[in-house]
Symmetry: C2
Protein backbone atom coordinates (compact mmCIF):
# COMPACT_ATOMS: atom_id res chain seq x y z
CA UNK A 1 0.00 0.00 0.00
CA UNK A 2 1.34 3.41 -1.00
CA UNK A 3 0.58 6.16 1.50
CA UNK A 4 0.72 9.98 1.38
CA UNK A 5 0.70 11.95 4.62
CA UNK A 6 -0.74 15.47 4.50
CA UNK A 7 0.45 17.33 7.60
CA UNK A 8 3.69 17.20 9.57
CA UNK A 9 2.56 17.97 13.11
CA UNK A 10 2.32 15.80 16.22
CA UNK A 11 -0.30 13.37 14.90
CA UNK A 12 1.27 13.09 11.42
CA UNK A 13 4.69 12.41 12.96
CA UNK A 14 3.58 9.70 15.41
CA UNK A 15 1.22 8.06 12.91
CA UNK A 16 3.92 7.99 10.20
CA UNK A 17 6.35 6.30 12.57
CA UNK A 18 3.70 3.74 13.60
CA UNK A 19 2.97 3.01 9.93
CA UNK A 20 6.67 2.41 9.26
CA UNK A 21 6.97 0.14 12.30
CA UNK A 22 4.03 -1.89 10.96
CA UNK A 23 5.68 -2.24 7.54
CA UNK A 24 3.56 0.38 5.76
CA UNK A 25 6.00 3.17 4.98
CA UNK A 26 4.78 6.62 4.01
CA UNK A 27 5.90 7.54 0.47
CA UNK A 28 5.03 11.23 0.32
CA UNK A 29 4.71 14.02 2.89
CA UNK A 30 3.06 17.40 2.33
CA UNK A 31 2.72 20.27 4.77
CA UNK A 32 1.49 23.86 4.39
CA UNK A 33 4.96 24.85 5.58
CA UNK A 34 7.23 22.95 3.21
CA UNK A 35 10.12 23.04 5.69
CA UNK A 36 8.01 20.95 8.08
CA UNK A 37 7.31 18.48 5.28
CA UNK A 38 11.05 18.21 4.55
CA UNK A 39 11.81 17.69 8.23
CA UNK A 40 9.29 14.85 8.66
CA UNK A 41 10.13 13.29 5.26
CA UNK A 42 13.80 13.13 6.29
CA UNK A 43 12.91 11.41 9.57
CA UNK A 44 10.78 8.72 7.94
CA UNK A 45 12.56 8.25 4.62
CA UNK A 46 9.75 9.70 2.49
CA UNK A 47 9.66 12.29 -0.28
CA UNK A 48 8.40 15.75 0.58
CA UNK A 49 6.05 17.35 -1.94
CA UNK A 50 5.34 21.04 -2.44
CA UNK A 51 1.77 20.76 -3.75
CA UNK A 52 -1.04 18.40 -2.88
CA UNK A 53 -1.43 17.95 -6.65
CA UNK A 54 1.97 16.24 -6.55
CA UNK A 55 0.46 13.17 -4.89
CA UNK A 56 1.26 10.43 -7.37
CA UNK A 57 -1.57 8.50 -9.00
CA UNK A 58 -0.48 5.21 -7.47
CA UNK A 59 -1.05 6.41 -3.90
CA UNK A 60 -3.77 4.17 -2.37
CA UNK A 61 -4.24 5.94 0.94
CA UNK A 62 -4.11 9.66 1.65
CA UNK A 63 -4.08 10.61 5.33
CA UNK A 64 -5.13 14.16 6.17
CA UNK A 65 -3.55 15.03 9.53
CA UNK A 66 -3.84 18.83 9.48
CA UNK A 67 -5.62 21.31 11.78
CA UNK A 68 -9.38 20.77 11.69
CA UNK A 69 -10.12 24.13 10.10
CA UNK A 70 -7.70 23.44 7.21
CA UNK A 71 -9.15 20.00 6.51
CA UNK A 72 -11.83 20.89 4.00
CA UNK A 73 -9.48 23.04 1.86
CA UNK A 74 -6.93 20.23 1.88
CA UNK A 75 -9.51 17.58 0.99
CA UNK A 76 -10.74 19.65 -1.98
CA UNK A 77 -7.21 19.64 -3.43
CA UNK A 78 -6.93 15.84 -3.48
CA UNK A 79 -7.96 14.39 -6.82
CA UNK A 80 -10.87 11.99 -6.23
CA UNK A 81 -10.03 8.49 -7.48
CA UNK A 82 -12.13 5.34 -7.34
CA UNK A 83 -9.27 3.20 -6.09
CA UNK A 84 -8.02 5.67 -3.46
CA UNK A 85 -9.07 5.96 0.18
CA UNK A 86 -8.89 9.40 1.77
CA UNK A 87 -9.02 9.52 5.57
CA UNK A 88 -8.67 12.18 8.21
CA UNK A 89 -7.44 11.84 11.80
CA UNK A 90 -9.71 14.34 13.52
CA UNK A 91 -11.83 13.68 16.60
CA UNK A 92 -14.37 16.37 15.82
CA UNK A 93 -14.75 16.27 12.04
CA UNK A 94 -17.58 14.30 10.46
CA UNK A 95 -16.66 11.69 7.86
CA UNK A 96 -19.02 13.60 5.50
CA UNK A 97 -16.36 16.27 5.04
CA UNK A 98 -14.63 13.77 2.73
CA UNK A 99 -17.77 13.06 0.63
CA UNK A 100 -16.12 14.19 -2.59
CA UNK A 101 -14.00 11.05 -2.44
CA UNK A 102 -15.56 7.71 -3.48
CA UNK A 103 -13.89 5.95 -0.55
CA UNK A 104 -13.25 7.80 2.67
CA UNK A 105 -12.74 7.17 6.33
CA UNK A 106 -11.37 8.20 9.68
CA UNK A 107 -8.38 7.00 11.71
CA UNK A 108 -8.63 8.92 14.99
CA UNK A 109 -5.84 8.17 17.48
CA UNK A 110 -7.14 8.95 20.97
CA UNK A 111 -3.91 10.11 22.53
CA UNK A 112 -2.01 13.27 23.35
CA UNK A 113 1.06 13.58 21.17
CA UNK A 114 4.13 15.74 21.50
CA UNK A 115 6.75 15.41 18.76
CA UNK A 116 9.60 15.09 21.24
CA UNK A 117 7.95 12.48 23.47
CA UNK A 118 8.06 8.88 22.23
CA UNK A 119 5.18 6.58 23.03
CA UNK A 120 4.08 3.04 22.28
CA UNK A 121 1.54 3.40 19.47
CA UNK A 122 0.36 -0.19 20.15
CA UNK A 123 -1.33 1.16 23.27
CA UNK A 124 -3.00 4.13 21.53
CA UNK A 125 -6.76 3.57 21.05
CA UNK A 126 -7.48 3.99 17.36
CA UNK A 127 -11.05 4.85 16.34
CA UNK A 128 -11.99 3.74 12.83
CA UNK A 129 -14.83 4.71 10.52
CA UNK A 130 -15.32 3.99 6.82
CA UNK A 131 -17.68 5.33 4.14
CA UNK A 132 -18.71 1.77 3.23
CA UNK A 133 -18.23 -1.73 4.64
CA UNK A 134 -15.25 -2.63 2.45
CA UNK A 135 -13.40 0.61 3.15
CA UNK A 136 -14.14 0.30 6.88
CA UNK A 137 -12.81 -3.28 6.95
CA UNK A 138 -9.71 -2.28 5.06
CA UNK A 139 -9.06 0.60 7.49
CA UNK A 140 -9.75 -1.59 10.52
CA UNK A 141 -7.29 -4.11 9.16
CA UNK A 142 -4.64 -1.40 8.84
CA UNK A 143 -5.50 0.01 12.30
CA UNK A 144 -5.07 -3.45 13.84
CA UNK A 145 -1.50 -3.48 12.52
CA UNK A 146 -0.80 -0.19 14.30
CA UNK A 147 -2.55 -0.65 17.63
CA UNK A 148 -3.95 -3.30 19.97
CA UNK A 149 -6.84 -1.01 20.86
CA UNK A 150 -8.96 -0.40 17.78
CA UNK A 151 -12.67 0.29 17.74
CA UNK A 152 -15.30 1.22 15.14
CA UNK A 153 -16.66 4.61 16.24
CA UNK A 154 -19.25 6.64 14.30
CA UNK A 155 -18.78 10.36 13.65
CA UNK A 156 -21.53 11.24 16.17
CA UNK A 157 -19.89 9.17 18.90
CA UNK A 158 -16.39 10.30 18.00
CA UNK A 159 -17.07 13.96 18.68
CA UNK A 160 -18.48 13.12 22.13
CA UNK A 161 -15.36 11.07 22.77
CA UNK A 162 -13.25 14.03 21.68
CA UNK A 163 -15.09 16.40 24.06
CA UNK A 164 -14.55 13.91 26.90
CA UNK A 165 -10.87 13.72 25.98
CA UNK A 166 -10.60 17.51 26.06
CA UNK A 167 -12.03 17.54 29.60
CA UNK A 168 -10.00 14.55 30.85
CA UNK A 169 -6.70 15.42 29.18
CA UNK A 170 -6.28 18.94 27.76
CA UNK A 171 -8.15 20.61 30.62
CA UNK A 172 -6.46 18.55 33.36
CA UNK A 173 -3.05 19.42 31.89
CA UNK A 174 -4.02 23.09 32.06
CA UNK A 175 -4.91 22.65 35.74
CA UNK A 176 -1.42 21.17 36.28
CA UNK A 177 0.01 24.25 34.55
CA UNK A 178 -1.98 26.52 36.87
CA UNK A 179 -0.77 24.61 39.96
CA UNK A 180 2.78 24.72 38.60
CA UNK A 181 2.62 28.50 38.16
CA UNK A 182 1.13 29.01 41.63
CA UNK A 183 3.99 27.03 43.17
CA UNK A 184 6.55 29.20 41.38
CA UNK A 185 5.45 32.01 43.75
CA UNK A 186 6.20 29.82 46.76
CA UNK A 187 9.32 28.37 48.37
CA UNK A 188 7.70 24.94 47.99
CA UNK A 189 8.39 22.97 44.80
CA UNK A 190 5.76 21.66 42.35
CA UNK A 191 7.48 18.30 42.87
CA UNK A 192 5.75 18.01 46.26
CA UNK A 193 2.40 17.80 44.43
CA UNK A 194 3.36 14.89 42.20
CA UNK A 195 2.47 12.02 44.56
CA UNK A 196 -0.96 13.63 44.96
CA UNK A 197 -1.37 13.98 41.20
CA UNK A 198 -0.36 10.34 40.64
CA UNK A 199 -2.69 9.07 43.37
CA UNK A 200 -5.61 11.05 41.89
CA UNK A 201 -5.12 9.22 38.59
CA UNK A 202 -4.49 5.84 40.18
CA UNK A 203 -7.78 6.07 42.06
CA UNK A 204 -9.86 6.20 38.89
CA UNK A 205 -8.32 2.97 37.62
CA UNK A 206 -10.62 1.06 39.94
CA UNK A 207 -13.24 3.61 40.96
CA UNK A 208 -15.89 5.78 39.36
CA UNK A 209 -14.28 9.26 39.58
CA UNK A 210 -17.39 10.72 41.18
CA UNK A 211 -17.17 8.24 44.07
CA UNK A 212 -13.61 9.28 44.99
CA UNK A 213 -14.02 13.06 44.73
CA UNK A 214 -12.31 14.84 47.64
CA UNK A 215 -11.58 18.47 48.54
CA UNK A 216 -13.40 21.49 49.96
CA UNK A 217 -16.11 21.65 47.26
CA UNK A 218 -17.46 18.09 47.67
CA UNK A 219 -17.59 18.70 51.46
CA UNK A 220 -19.30 22.02 50.71
CA UNK A 221 -16.66 23.54 53.00
CA UNK A 222 -17.45 27.18 52.21
CA UNK A 223 -15.05 28.49 54.83
CA UNK A 224 -12.04 26.94 53.04
CA UNK A 225 -13.33 27.82 49.58
CA UNK A 226 -13.74 31.46 50.66
CA UNK A 227 -10.18 31.55 52.03
CA UNK A 228 -8.88 30.24 48.70
CA UNK A 229 -10.99 32.70 46.70
CA UNK A 230 -9.66 35.57 48.82
CA UNK A 231 -6.07 34.62 48.01
CA UNK A 232 -6.97 34.28 44.31
CA UNK A 233 -8.57 37.76 44.22
CA UNK A 234 -5.43 39.18 42.62
CA UNK A 235 -5.74 36.62 39.79
CA UNK A 236 -9.24 37.16 38.34
CA UNK A 237 -8.97 34.32 35.78
CA UNK A 238 -8.03 31.74 38.40
CA UNK A 239 -10.63 33.17 40.78
CA UNK A 240 -13.38 32.60 38.19
CA UNK A 241 -12.12 29.11 37.32
CA UNK A 242 -11.94 28.15 41.01
CA UNK A 243 -15.48 29.38 41.62
CA UNK A 244 -17.02 27.73 38.55
CA UNK A 245 -15.35 24.32 38.96
CA UNK A 246 -16.18 24.29 42.69
CA UNK A 247 -19.82 25.09 41.93
CA UNK A 248 -19.86 22.26 39.40
CA UNK A 249 -18.48 19.84 42.02
CA UNK A 250 -21.04 20.98 44.61
CA UNK A 251 -23.82 20.36 42.05
CA UNK A 252 -22.53 16.87 41.29
CA UNK A 253 -22.35 16.05 45.00
CA UNK A 254 -24.84 13.45 46.30
CA UNK A 255 -25.49 15.82 49.25
CA UNK A 256 -26.91 18.52 46.97
CA UNK A 257 -29.31 15.96 45.52
CA UNK A 258 -30.76 15.31 48.97
CA UNK A 259 -34.43 16.41 48.98
CA UNK A 260 -34.15 17.87 52.49
CA UNK A 261 -32.27 21.02 51.64
CA UNK B 1 4.01 9.56 73.52
CA UNK B 2 0.28 9.40 74.21
CA UNK B 3 -1.89 10.63 71.33
CA UNK B 4 -5.55 11.64 71.03
CA UNK B 5 -7.17 11.86 67.59
CA UNK B 6 -10.08 14.26 67.16
CA UNK B 7 -11.95 13.32 64.01
CA UNK B 8 -12.63 9.96 62.35
CA UNK B 9 -12.72 10.86 58.67
CA UNK B 10 -10.34 10.08 55.81
CA UNK B 11 -7.33 12.01 57.17
CA UNK B 12 -7.85 10.85 60.77
CA UNK B 13 -8.10 7.23 59.62
CA UNK B 14 -4.99 7.20 57.42
CA UNK B 15 -2.93 9.25 59.88
CA UNK B 16 -3.91 6.98 62.81
CA UNK B 17 -2.83 3.90 60.85
CA UNK B 18 0.47 5.55 59.91
CA UNK B 19 1.08 6.45 63.58
CA UNK B 20 0.47 2.83 64.63
CA UNK B 21 2.81 1.53 61.90
CA UNK B 22 5.50 3.88 63.21
CA UNK B 23 5.04 2.62 66.78
CA UNK B 24 3.05 5.62 68.05
CA UNK B 25 -0.42 4.21 68.71
CA UNK B 26 -3.39 6.50 69.16
CA UNK B 27 -4.89 6.11 72.65
CA UNK B 28 -8.15 8.03 72.32
CA UNK B 29 -10.48 8.86 69.43
CA UNK B 30 -13.23 11.47 69.44
CA UNK B 31 -15.66 12.38 66.67
CA UNK B 32 -18.72 14.63 66.52
CA UNK B 33 -20.61 11.49 65.55
CA UNK B 34 -19.70 9.05 68.30
CA UNK B 35 -20.46 6.05 66.06
CA UNK B 36 -17.64 7.14 63.77
CA UNK B 37 -15.30 7.41 66.78
CA UNK B 38 -16.25 3.87 67.86
CA UNK B 39 -15.67 2.56 64.34
CA UNK B 40 -12.18 4.08 64.02
CA UNK B 41 -11.25 3.22 67.63
CA UNK B 42 -12.11 -0.44 66.95
CA UNK B 43 -9.94 -0.47 63.83
CA UNK B 44 -6.88 0.95 65.55
CA UNK B 45 -7.24 -0.50 69.07
CA UNK B 46 -7.95 2.86 70.75
CA UNK B 47 -10.62 4.02 73.18
CA UNK B 48 -13.45 6.14 71.83
CA UNK B 49 -14.46 9.13 73.95
CA UNK B 50 -17.81 10.95 73.95
CA UNK B 51 -16.57 14.41 74.97
CA UNK B 52 -13.40 16.27 74.12
CA UNK B 53 -13.16 16.97 77.87
CA UNK B 54 -12.56 13.21 78.28
CA UNK B 55 -9.04 13.54 76.84
CA UNK B 56 -6.88 12.27 79.69
CA UNK B 57 -4.34 14.59 81.29
CA UNK B 58 -1.41 12.41 80.24
CA UNK B 59 -2.08 12.88 76.51
CA UNK B 60 1.01 14.62 75.03
CA UNK B 61 -0.26 15.21 71.51
CA UNK B 62 -3.78 16.09 70.39
CA UNK B 63 -4.38 15.90 66.63
CA UNK B 64 -7.36 17.85 65.29
CA UNK B 65 -8.39 16.22 62.01
CA UNK B 66 -11.91 17.60 61.60
CA UNK B 67 -13.53 19.76 58.89
CA UNK B 68 -11.89 23.18 58.73
CA UNK B 69 -14.99 25.06 59.85
CA UNK B 70 -15.31 22.90 62.99
CA UNK B 71 -11.66 23.33 63.96
CA UNK B 72 -11.90 26.44 66.11
CA UNK B 73 -14.83 25.09 68.17
CA UNK B 74 -12.94 21.83 68.69
CA UNK B 75 -9.71 23.62 69.66
CA UNK B 76 -11.56 25.73 72.23
CA UNK B 77 -12.74 22.56 74.01
CA UNK B 78 -9.22 21.19 74.50
CA UNK B 79 -7.80 22.13 77.91
CA UNK B 80 -4.60 24.14 77.33
CA UNK B 81 -1.64 22.43 79.04
CA UNK B 82 2.00 23.49 79.09
CA UNK B 83 3.28 20.00 78.33
CA UNK B 84 0.78 19.23 75.56
CA UNK B 85 1.12 19.89 71.84
CA UNK B 86 -2.06 20.54 69.88
CA UNK B 87 -1.82 20.24 66.08
CA UNK B 88 -4.24 20.38 63.20
CA UNK B 89 -3.99 18.69 59.79
CA UNK B 90 -5.52 21.38 57.60
CA UNK B 91 -3.98 22.84 54.46
CA UNK B 92 -5.83 26.13 54.68
CA UNK B 93 -5.95 26.90 58.41
CA UNK B 94 -3.36 29.19 59.95
CA UNK B 95 -1.37 27.87 62.91
CA UNK B 96 -2.66 30.94 64.83
CA UNK B 97 -6.04 29.26 65.21
CA UNK B 98 -4.41 27.16 67.94
CA UNK B 99 -2.95 30.17 69.79
CA UNK B 100 -4.79 29.31 73.03
CA UNK B 101 -2.43 26.36 73.41
CA UNK B 102 1.11 26.99 74.69
CA UNK B 103 2.53 24.52 72.13
CA UNK B 104 0.85 24.10 68.79
CA UNK B 105 1.60 23.00 65.29
CA UNK B 106 0.48 21.60 61.97
CA UNK B 107 0.89 18.18 60.35
CA UNK B 108 -0.58 18.59 56.86
CA UNK B 109 -0.50 15.44 54.72
CA UNK B 110 -0.54 16.49 51.07
CA UNK B 111 -2.49 13.58 49.68
CA UNK B 112 -6.02 12.61 48.66
CA UNK B 113 -7.42 10.04 51.05
CA UNK B 114 -10.38 7.74 50.75
CA UNK B 115 -11.08 5.47 53.71
CA UNK B 116 -11.45 2.38 51.55
CA UNK B 117 -8.27 2.92 49.50
CA UNK B 118 -4.99 1.92 51.16
CA UNK B 119 -1.87 3.85 50.38
CA UNK B 120 1.76 3.96 51.44
CA UNK B 121 1.96 6.80 53.96
CA UNK B 122 5.77 6.79 53.59
CA UNK B 123 5.26 8.42 50.20
CA UNK B 124 2.83 11.07 51.43
CA UNK B 125 4.44 14.53 51.63
CA UNK B 126 3.95 15.78 55.21
CA UNK B 127 4.13 19.54 55.80
CA UNK B 128 5.18 20.51 59.32
CA UNK B 129 4.93 23.77 61.25
CA UNK B 130 5.46 24.46 64.96
CA UNK B 131 4.67 27.40 67.24
CA UNK B 132 8.30 27.44 68.46
CA UNK B 133 11.59 25.79 67.49
CA UNK B 134 11.35 22.94 70.06
CA UNK B 135 7.79 22.07 69.12
CA UNK B 136 8.61 22.24 65.43
CA UNK B 137 11.61 19.93 65.87
CA UNK B 138 9.55 17.48 67.89
CA UNK B 139 6.82 17.44 65.21
CA UNK B 140 9.36 17.10 62.40
CA UNK B 141 10.88 14.17 64.25
CA UNK B 142 7.48 12.50 64.49
CA UNK B 143 6.71 13.32 60.85
CA UNK B 144 9.99 11.72 59.76
CA UNK B 145 8.82 8.48 61.37
CA UNK B 146 5.65 8.56 59.28
CA UNK B 147 6.89 9.71 55.89
CA UNK B 148 10.02 9.99 53.76
CA UNK B 149 8.80 13.29 52.36
CA UNK B 150 8.61 15.84 55.16
CA UNK B 151 9.07 19.56 54.81
CA UNK B 152 8.77 22.64 57.04
CA UNK B 153 6.05 24.80 55.44
CA UNK B 154 4.76 28.07 56.90
CA UNK B 155 1.03 28.81 57.15
CA UNK B 156 1.26 31.37 54.33
CA UNK B 157 2.94 28.89 52.01
CA UNK B 158 0.74 26.00 53.06
CA UNK B 159 -2.49 27.65 51.90
CA UNK B 160 -0.95 28.34 48.47
CA UNK B 161 0.11 24.70 48.34
CA UNK B 162 -3.44 23.70 49.25
CA UNK B 163 -4.93 25.85 46.47
CA UNK B 164 -2.49 24.27 43.98
CA UNK B 165 -3.52 20.84 45.23
CA UNK B 166 -7.19 21.69 44.73
CA UNK B 167 -6.47 22.64 41.09
CA UNK B 168 -4.15 19.69 40.39
CA UNK B 169 -6.12 17.01 42.22
CA UNK B 170 -9.71 17.83 43.25
CA UNK B 171 -10.48 19.74 40.06
CA UNK B 172 -8.81 17.22 37.74
CA UNK B 173 -10.80 14.42 39.38
CA UNK B 174 -13.97 16.40 38.71
CA UNK B 175 -12.97 16.68 35.04
CA UNK B 176 -12.58 12.87 34.97
CA UNK B 177 -16.08 12.63 36.45
CA UNK B 178 -17.44 14.91 33.72
CA UNK B 179 -15.73 12.84 30.99
CA UNK B 180 -17.04 9.66 32.62
CA UNK B 181 -20.62 10.98 32.61
CA UNK B 182 -20.35 12.14 28.99
CA UNK B 183 -19.19 8.66 27.94
CA UNK B 184 -22.19 7.09 29.68
CA UNK B 185 -24.32 8.68 26.92
CA UNK B 186 -22.23 6.97 24.25
CA UNK B 187 -21.66 3.39 23.11
CA UNK B 188 -17.94 3.96 23.74
CA UNK B 189 -16.56 3.11 27.18
CA UNK B 190 -14.72 5.51 29.52
CA UNK B 191 -12.01 2.81 29.54
CA UNK B 192 -10.92 3.97 26.08
CA UNK B 193 -9.87 7.31 27.63
CA UNK B 194 -7.58 5.81 30.27
CA UNK B 195 -4.38 5.53 28.18
CA UNK B 196 -4.83 9.21 27.31
CA UNK B 197 -5.35 10.15 30.96
CA UNK B 198 -2.26 8.19 32.03
CA UNK B 199 -0.10 9.70 29.27
CA UNK B 200 -1.22 13.22 30.25
CA UNK B 201 0.08 12.60 33.77
CA UNK B 202 3.24 10.82 32.64
CA UNK B 203 4.16 13.79 30.47
CA UNK B 204 4.41 16.17 33.42
CA UNK B 205 6.91 13.91 35.19
CA UNK B 206 9.61 15.27 32.91
CA UNK B 207 8.08 18.39 31.38
CA UNK B 208 6.71 21.73 32.49
CA UNK B 209 2.93 21.18 32.01
CA UNK B 210 2.62 24.39 29.97
CA UNK B 211 5.16 23.10 27.43
CA UNK B 212 3.15 19.92 26.70
CA UNK B 213 -0.32 21.46 26.48
CA UNK B 214 -2.29 20.01 23.56
CA UNK B 215 -5.88 20.28 22.31
CA UNK B 216 -8.05 22.74 20.39
CA UNK B 217 -7.60 25.67 22.81
CA UNK B 218 -3.80 25.85 22.69
CA UNK B 219 -4.02 25.70 18.87
CA UNK B 220 -6.70 28.41 19.08
CA UNK B 221 -8.75 26.07 16.86
CA UNK B 222 -12.03 27.99 17.16
CA UNK B 223 -13.78 25.79 14.61
CA UNK B 224 -13.38 22.68 16.82
CA UNK B 225 -14.13 24.58 20.03
CA UNK B 226 -17.35 25.91 18.51
CA UNK B 227 -18.41 22.41 17.44
CA UNK B 228 -17.85 21.18 20.99
CA UNK B 229 -19.71 24.14 22.50
CA UNK B 230 -22.66 23.48 20.20
CA UNK B 231 -22.93 19.88 21.41
CA UNK B 232 -22.64 21.06 25.03
CA UNK B 233 -25.46 23.62 24.58
CA UNK B 234 -27.91 21.24 26.27
CA UNK B 235 -25.62 21.12 29.34
CA UNK B 236 -25.17 24.77 30.41
CA UNK B 237 -22.79 23.97 33.30
CA UNK B 238 -20.42 22.01 31.08
CA UNK B 239 -20.77 24.62 28.34
CA UNK B 240 -19.62 27.36 30.74
CA UNK B 241 -16.76 25.23 32.10
CA UNK B 242 -15.58 24.35 28.59
CA UNK B 243 -15.62 28.01 27.55
CA UNK B 244 -13.85 29.35 30.64
CA UNK B 245 -11.10 26.70 30.76
CA UNK B 246 -10.49 27.04 27.01
CA UNK B 247 -10.21 30.82 27.37
CA UNK B 248 -7.73 30.32 30.18
CA UNK B 249 -5.62 27.99 28.00
CA UNK B 250 -5.70 30.46 25.09
CA UNK B 251 -4.51 33.22 27.46
CA UNK B 252 -1.65 31.05 28.74
CA UNK B 253 -0.57 30.22 25.21
CA UNK B 254 2.76 31.69 24.06
CA UNK B 255 0.98 32.77 20.85
CA UNK B 256 -1.36 35.11 22.71
CA UNK B 257 1.65 36.75 24.36
CA UNK B 258 3.00 37.72 20.96
CA UNK B 259 3.14 41.53 20.75
CA UNK B 260 1.96 41.53 17.12
CA UNK B 261 -1.71 40.89 17.81
Amino acid sequence: MKIAMLGAGNVATHLSKALINAGNPVAQVWSRDHNHAIELALQIGANSIVDIADITEDVDLVIIAVKDDAMSVVSAQILPQNSRIVVHTSGSTDIDLLNAHPKSGVLYPLQTFSKEIDLDFNEVPLCVEGSDADTQNMLLNLANQLSNKTQIVSSAERIKLHISAVFACNFTNHLYAIAHDLMLESAVSFELLKPLIMETVNKINNHDPKSVQTGPAIRNDTSTMNKHLKILESKPDLHDLYRLISQSIVKMSPISECPAK
